[in-house]
């Protein structure tokens, strides 16, 4: 469960990028975070994950405050950033082993999981190469495997589907569904409205730091009766 309470953030004084944001993502839920470029999605995610300091308000992950109790809160989630160009000089396997060390995963378990997941995502044969030789999608898959490795209850993913091939995207979506079915939380941002519509239990639309809509797709259709697709609604909501 992720609770965002009265959160505000500005990079430059008095210019609020996020303005009094309130959001609760419940257990067993897939939450899609939508909004135009520069709306504040990445900024929000960076605050949830403790990368950015929160100016006002607080965020709780499974009840642990990210400001008061950062380490415990961070143990409760796994995060895939929007740019996967990390640790380019490490080999894929070294990165995964490093992550497993940070999250203190037993060596037998990590071997099994790395082998299984890398075969599923079809980068098993590339694990012994440096990440700088990976393609964009392969880097992303590696980061996703890094998250799945320590089986956190909450997944936080910033545009996880961009750059993935159809099969990997399908696999990831299935994994998200299975994860939420087990009573866990998935929070991700995306620009693909179709994904949001089909995959998400609830959707949030943000623009200029303000949350414009939160709810299920059905609720949304009721609220905007004259629009017949999510695309229409999205364009209308974010117009002004």
């Amino acid at each position: 469960m992720i609770e965002i309470k009265n959160v505000s953030k500005s990079y430059i004084k008095n210019e609020k990028i996020i303005d009094n944001l309130n959001l609760e993502i419940k257990d067993g839920e897939i939450f899609g975070f939508l909004g135009p470029n520069g709306a504040g999605k990445t900024t929000t995610i960076k605050m949830i994950t403790g990368i950015l300091k929160i100016d006002e308000g607080d965020i709780f992950i499974d009840g642990q405050s990210i400001t008061e109790n950062p380490v415990n809160a961070k143990l409760n989630f796994g995060f895939v950033p929007d740019s996967p160009d990390m640790f380019l000089k490490l080999k894929g396997i070294e990165y995964l082993n490093f992550i497993a060390d940070i999250y203190k995963i037993d060596s037998k378990i990590r071997k099994d999981r790395i082998e299984r997941l890398s075969k599923e995502f079809e980068i098993y044969d590339n694990l012994n190469e440096q990440i700088q030789n990976y393609s964009h999608g392969m880097r992303q898959k590696l980061l996703i495997i890094g998250v799945l490795l320590h089986e956190p209850k909450n997944w936080i993913l910033d545009e996880p589907l961009t750059g993935l091939d159809p099969k990997s995207a399908y696999d990831l979506k299935e994994k998200m569904k299975a994860h939420s079915r087990k009573g866990n939380t998935v929070f991700f941002s995306t620009h693909v409205l179709e994904v949001a519509e089909k995959l998400c239990d609830r959707i949030g639309i943000i623009n200029k730091g303000k949350l414009l809509f939160v709810g299920t797709y059905e609720e949304m259709k009721k609220q905007f009766k004259d629009s017949n697709s999510l695309e229409d609604i999205f364009l209308k909501v974010t117009e002004e």
Partner: protein, 549 residues
């Protein structure tokens, strides 16, 4: 033509890595410029001084023109060697090729622009190796204006053909060998070769310090004989020499025209020749190893978080040539380079020499607070070349957010990041402590231990505190690793910081006369400061790490 010039300008700007906010005259910018200026003025002064000496020697031997031919010869050789190194970087390893290739510019223009970039950087080198010596020569002999005009023309045209030759050599190498395709490896090799050369020159120059003026003059004239032979094969050298030394008659004019004609012809000819070959091979470069091997799952085992983190730091440091060569290598090389003069002095002369007497005199008087302070300052001076801690955050680049979202306390990461610098600093530390004992045989064990302990504590504090410098002002958003190690003000701050620490230690030492007392006092101060600093980082970690996201 216009397009080529425009392209040259862009490439030059790119390679100089100009800062975007250059018009901001902040204190830091001024300080950096001032430092740069002092360094250049110093080197220029040394060159001018050496030139003056050589000219005087040759004047006495009645053959001053030898100076000119030697200068031209060295210009050609330097241009040739430098072009091999820089053509690798300019032609193959610069990122701009990926942006240039898709543009509708024909490859000849790209090659021409790239030549121009190399030529301009060669002119900058020539300012030191050519312009200053010739100016000194001109002032000494009160030469006519024609001498200067000819010199300028030679200055401009002489390096062209050597650069072309060096470039052709590189292009051939790139085409027919596979090892050169590995960018990282080539960078390691070139830097190691450069260091080998510096060390060789140093050893050679030590052996020649004993020569008299007369012998030097003879040697120079001997080398000049070689120049003559060389000039027979390398016609531009002869043209260059004649253009300057024969200004009294018509020979100079025809020679300079030959030189200009040859250079321009070669420049155009080689550019056309290379424009196809180069583009083909430039697109073939890969960086890093791309060997596909099977993953050995038996090697996967659990490590403590600390070990995993420090291992990661070392891997990133050692696998990235830019980081390794600029932050680690100086720590290893500088102690060696600095001690070569002492070592060869030590071995080349017997017991009877005067320097031996000086050494033993120092050895007998070193065990006091002054000697102690000097030992510590030398150790600290060597720590200055360790830029590992002060770049530990910036090196992460865009991956830096990782620090914040993993479940590992920030202050712990801060400690771990100090470890690589701390470990590598043991090299200069042992170097001095052992070297001190070899040089002065009478040093007591207690003095050695005391120097070691304070050196160790300084290492701990400096390595750890420099991480904070980088945390407060990290350089994260870079596209090329050079941004981290070049033009990074943090490196200057780290130098200043070590200087301050050294000055404080010097100050404390000057108040006392007993080495044991000083050791106790400084240890106490260093330990307390380190503990205080550690707690400070622990308490305020969220605020300290604010800039990192």
């Amino acid at each position: 033509m216009k397009e080529t010039l425009f392209l040259t300008k862009i490439l030059l700007k790119n390679s100089l890595n100009k800062n975007a906010n250059k018009d901001k005259l902040t204190f830091k910018a001024i300080a950096a410029k001032l430092l740069m200026f002092v360094a250049i003025a110093y080197i220029g002064g040394v060159v001018a001084f050496l030139s003056k000496e050589l000219i005087e020697v040759l004047k006495a031997a009645n053959q001053p023109e030898v100076f000119i031919s030697l200068c031209l010869l060295s210009t050609i050789i330097i241009a040739f060697i430098q072009s091999i190194l820089s053509s690798l970087n300019v032609l193959y390893f610069s990122k701009d090729i990926e942006f240039l290739l898709p543009l509708p510019i024909n490859s000849l223009k790209i090659v021409l622009a790239k030549f121009n970039v190399m030529l301009v950087s060669e002119y900058i080198v020539e300012l030191l190796t050519f312009a200053i010596p010739f100016l000194v020569y001109g002032i000494t002999f009160q030469v006519s204006i024609i001498f200067y005009i000819m010199s300028i023309l030679v200055f401009l045209f002489l390096p062209i053909i050597p650069i072309l030759l060096g470039t052709i050599l590189t292009v051939i190498l790139m085409r027919f060998t596979s090892f050169v395709k590995n960018k990282d490896l080539v960078q390691y090799i070139t830097v190691f070769l450069t260091f080998a050369m510096i060390i060789a020159i140093q050893i050679y120059s030590i052996n020649t310090t004993e020569l008299t003026d007369f012998m030097i003059a003879n040697k120079l004239i001997q080398i000049n004989g070689l120049t003559d032979i060389f000039a027979d094969y390398f016609i531009i050298l002869k043209h260059g020499i004649n253009a300057i030394t024969e200004i009294e008659n018509r020979l100079a004019l025809s020679n300079i025209l030959y030189l200009i004609g040859e250079s321009i012809t070669a420049y155009l000819f080689v550019s056309i020749l290379l424009s196809t070959t180069y583009i083909n091979s430039a697109t073939n470069i890969v960086s890093g190893n791309s060997k596909k091997t099977k993953t050995d799952f038996r090697k996967i085992k659990r490590n403590s978080t600390r070990k995993a983190y420090i291992d990661k730091e070392f891997k990133i440091l050692f696998r990235n040539p830019v980081f390794f060569l600029n932050t680690v290598l100086p720590v290893l090389i500088i102690p060696i380079v600095l001690t070569i003069p002492f070592v060869s002095e030590f071995f080349s002369k017997g017991e009877s020499s005067s320097s031996q007497a000086i050494i033993s005199a120092i050895g007998e008087n070193i065990e006091n607070t002054v000697g102690f302070a000097i030992c510590i300052c030398i150790i600290n001076f060597l720590y200055m070349f360790n830029y590992i801690s002060v770049t530990s955050i910036s090196r992460e680049g865009e991956s830096v957010a990782f620090i914040k979202y993993i479940p590992l306390e920030l202050y712990k990461q801060c400690r771990y990041k100090a470890i690589p610098a701390f470990i590598l600093n043991f090299i200069p530390l042992f170097f001095i402590v052992i070297g001190m004992n070899l040089l002065f045989s009478k040093i007591s064990i207690s003095f050695t231990l005391e120097v070691f302990v304070i050196g160790l504590l300084c290492n701990l504090f400096i390595s750890y505190a420099e991480v904070l410098i980088d945390i407060l002002k990290p350089k994260i958003h870079w596209t090329s690793e050079y941004a981290v190690v070049k033009q990074n003000m943090n490196m200057l701050w780290s130098t200043i910081f070590v200087l301050i620490v050294s000055i404080i230690i010097l100050g404390i030492c000057s108040f006392f006369e007993n080495v044991h007392v000083v050791t106790l006092l400084i240890s106490a101060i260093l330990i307390l400061t380190t503990i205080f600093y550690d707690n400070f980082v622990k308490l305020y970690s969220t605020n300290i790490f604010k800039k990192i996201c």
